[in-house]
């Protein structure tokens, strides 16, 4: 059945996320899901005229869950790539982000371009766009040995390793990077860049649900045009 | 005793794989009769008892209990076993149950008796073996002789037509042996039909109506205790009695002690 009709009929949009990635998605002191993505899906639901329910899951489960239509869409700061597009559909991007290289205050890392990361022990988050970039540009070109690429499930673990000097660099999105550097006095931003970013952040939805995709694209277009998105990005400190 | 046999075994055979243990045994037990089976180790005495209450399936031959051929196919073994009380060398009391519950569990779970009736009967059977004051104790809190008396009460509880005993005292100290033999003697006096495998020659002599001497899966000799003990007809029986006597050495105890106060 057409998923858009299902949503309309039940009067509720079911959204999956992995709530450990502030400021995009996290849980506040009262147990509410907060963050830029969360605000976005609430606004999207409002404009579609339905309620919203948010479910927190493991990252892998999110994908399987949206494929099985256990959830209607995924909002998890997820970037749409061609490989991923084979198994799910993506809305138009709602946000283009910058990435950042984080390093330890004690390490003498000077960077002017992303390629300056060559040869360093570098960390990133599992299965992200940043990982793909490192693989393509540093590992496969032979600039960095395979075993010097470390993939973390969680950003905060990576931050701790960076502080302990077990890795030299960490490539993640700019906003979480900024927060990390603010929280841990041993860390600083080495470089902010857009070169490593492939695609924008999109909502993921089940494959082949053209009606739902059209509806989401329509609402997101609206949000971009009337300035809602820019205003919210400012509110959450995303630039 | 021309009465009809209550248990009748005809040409019984039993093999385990290649080896044949029981090689054609026929035996009729009349009501109220006490038969003692003796014989060297490994000759199939335990196997014979196990065949009788169908704990193991005979290879050939027939067993009739009262009016039923229990070796026939399709017989309900559980019902047959209820009619045959069995007492083992190792007591095999249910370790997690009190003495009383050891007796009542068969009554409630097998005979479907009500709890209260089962308790009443349980106390009655414990009384019969002189164990009523130990009713609430667990097996681990009882001596060997007491355990065996509870095991007898458990078997008696099912009101069996015949009781089988497989060396009921050989795991016991000589002193504890006495109390169990006493209970068995009492049962015999009460008219219980009994088939007893034992090495206790004193008991055999005093209580048994008939002695069966088994060897190598056959009945080699059979007769009244007096004639069997005093004039064993076969060489093997003679030898066997002599070994038993030597080990226990009682043969040379003076008659004087017999009359000592006890």
């Amino acid at each position: 059945d057409d998923q858009l009709n299902v949503i309309k009929a039940r009067g509720k949009l079911i959204v999956g996320t992995s709530a450990d990635y502030p400021p995009y998605e996290s849980v506040d002191d009262s147990g509410k899901f907060v963050g830029f993505d969360m605000a976005l899906v609430r606004e999207v639901a409002k404009r579609m005229g339905v309620e919203v329910e948010i479910k927190d899951m493991g990252f892998d489960t999110l994908i399987a869950a949206v494929q099985n239509k256990k959830i209607d869409l995924v909002a998890a700061a997820m970037q749409g790539t061609a490989e991923r597009d084979k198994t799910v559909d993506f809305s138009i991007p709602y946000n283009f982000v910058k990435d950042a290289f984080v390093t330890s205050t004690k390490a003498d890392v000077q960077m002017t371009t992303p390629k300056d990361a060559a040869g360093r022990k570098i960390g990133t988050q599992t299965g992200t766009i940043q990982e793909t970039w490192i693989r393509k540009n540093l590992v496969e070109t032979g600039l960095t040995p395979e075993e010097d690429l470390f993939q973390y499930e969680r950003v905060d673990n990576a931050g701790l390793d960076l502080a302990a000097g077990r890795i030299d660099l960490l490539l993640i999105q700019y906003k979480p990077a900024k927060d990390l550097a603010a929280k841990m006095d041993k860390l600083k931003i080495a470089l902010v860049t857009t070169e490593t970013v492939a695609a924008g952040q999109c909502l993921a939805l089940p494959e082949g649900e053209t009606a739902l995709k059209a509806e989401l694209d329509r609402v997101i277009g609206q949000l971009q045009q009337d300035g809602w998105i820019d205003q919210q990005k400012k509110a959450f400190g995303i630039d | 005793m021309p009465e009809k046999a209550i248990l009748e075994i005809t040409d019984l055979h039993k093999s385990f794989g290649e080896t044949t243990i029981i090689k054609g045994i026929s035996l009729a037990v009349r009501p109220k009769e006490v038969i003692v089976v003796v014989g060297p180790s490994g000759t199939g005495k335990s196997t014979l008892l196990q065949c009788i209450n169908l704990l193991t399936r005979p290879t050939a031959g027939q067993i009739r209990l009262a009016d039923e051929t229990i070796t026939a196919p399709g017989v309900n073994v559980n019902r047959v076993r209820q009619q045959i009380g069995m007492v083992f060398q190792e007591f095999n009391l249910f370790n997690h149950l009190t003495a009383l519950d050891n007796v009542t569990i068969g009554l409630t779970q097998v005979l479907g008796m009500k709890r209260d009736d089962a308790r009443r009967k349980g106390f009655f059977e414990l009384e019969r073996v002189g164990m009523v004051e130990h009713a609430p104790k667990y097996p681990a809190q009882l001596s060997g002789g007491q355990k065996q008396r509870v095991a007898i009460a458990r078997a008696l509880g099912m009101d069996p037509a015949i009781m089988l005993f497989d060396e009921p005292t050989s795991a016991l100290d000589p002193e504890l042996t006495g109390e169990v033999l006493g209970v068995m003697q009492k049962l015999a006096t009460e008219g219980m039909t009994m088939l007893v495998v034992t090495h206790e020659m004193g008991f055999a002599r005093e209580v048994a109506h008939r002695i069966i001497f088994m060897e190598g899966g056959h009945i080699v000799e059979e007769g009244a205790p007096a004639s069997f003990f005093n004039h064993p007809r076969t060489e093997r029986a003679r030898q066997f009695l002599s070994t038993i006597r030597r080990a226990h050495g009682g043969g040379e105890l003076p008659a004087a002690i017999d009359g000592a106060p006890s």
Partner: protein, 229 residues
């Protein structure tokens, strides 16, 4: 995913997953060994030690059995550097899993030691053996045979629990699966392959242990189940 596509997918991801399997086996093997080296003395202390040594061994066991492995790994890897003890990823993985397995193995061994009848110790002492000699030559050889079945459980458990090391960026089988599934967005196919790999690995390991068990069986005391098989 249609079956043809699934096989193509297998071909694509198997090399990576097999690499991860290698890491898993290496760490699990090392941890089991460390666990045995730690667990054996702890079990002996727990059975034969003085009151205080028994308590100490008990505390170690409770600590490691009572807290999630993940937390133990975090403490060793991220917590101890605060105290000036910095471990490499692999060292932290071996150490944590090894100490954890040590606690479980100690308990299994304790059960086995206590299952060796007390008469064995009495008889050994009666011919003039010292406690230590008796433990070494009489009690342990019997206990180690008895512990084999629970040891095979522990082996399976450790192979699976090795998956936590991915949190500190060691790419074991489960970690590789996560990387692949978030790159390709095909978690269900990925995890089906992973389940099959675990099944094969654990199956092979069990067969090996079964044969080890048979090899060291005492004649006449065979495990009734394996004997009739």
């Amino acid at each position: 995913m249609p079956i043809g596509e699934f096989f193509a997918f297998c071909q694509k991801v198997l090399p990576d997953l097999i690499q991860g399997t290698g890491v898993t086996l290496k760490i699990a093997g090392g941890a089991l060994l460390i666990g045995l080296v730690v667990g054996l003395p702890v079990a002996l202390l727990r059975v034969y030690g003085s009151v205080w040594l028994r308590r100490l061994a008990g505390a170690y066991i409770n600590l490691f059995r009572g807290t999630p492995l993940l937390v133990q790994l975090f403490v060793v890897y991220y917590g101890l550097p605060d105290l000036g003890l910095t471990f490499s990823r692999l060292a932290a993985a071996y150490l944590t899993l090894g100490l954890n397995s040590g606690a479980y193995q100690a308990e299994y061994l304790r059960g086995a030691l206590q299952a060796v009848g007390s008469g064995q110790m009495t008889a050994a002492r009666a011919i003039g053996m010292s406690r230590l000699t008796a433990i070494r030559h009489i009690i342990l050889p019997q206990a180690l045979r008895l512990v084999l079945p629970s040891w095979s459980n522990e082996m399976i458990a450790i192979i699976k629990y090795t998956a936590v090391v991915f949190l500190i960026a060691v790419p074991d089988l489960m970690g590789k699966a996560k990387i692949i599934s978030s790159r390709t967005f095909a978690p269900i196919s990925t995890y089906i392959i992973v389940a099959l790999i675990y099944l094969v690995v654990v199956g092979l390991a069990s067969i090996v242990l079964h044969h080890v068990g048979k090899r060291f069986e005492t004649p006449g005391l065979e495990n009734p189940e394996t004997a009739t098989r």
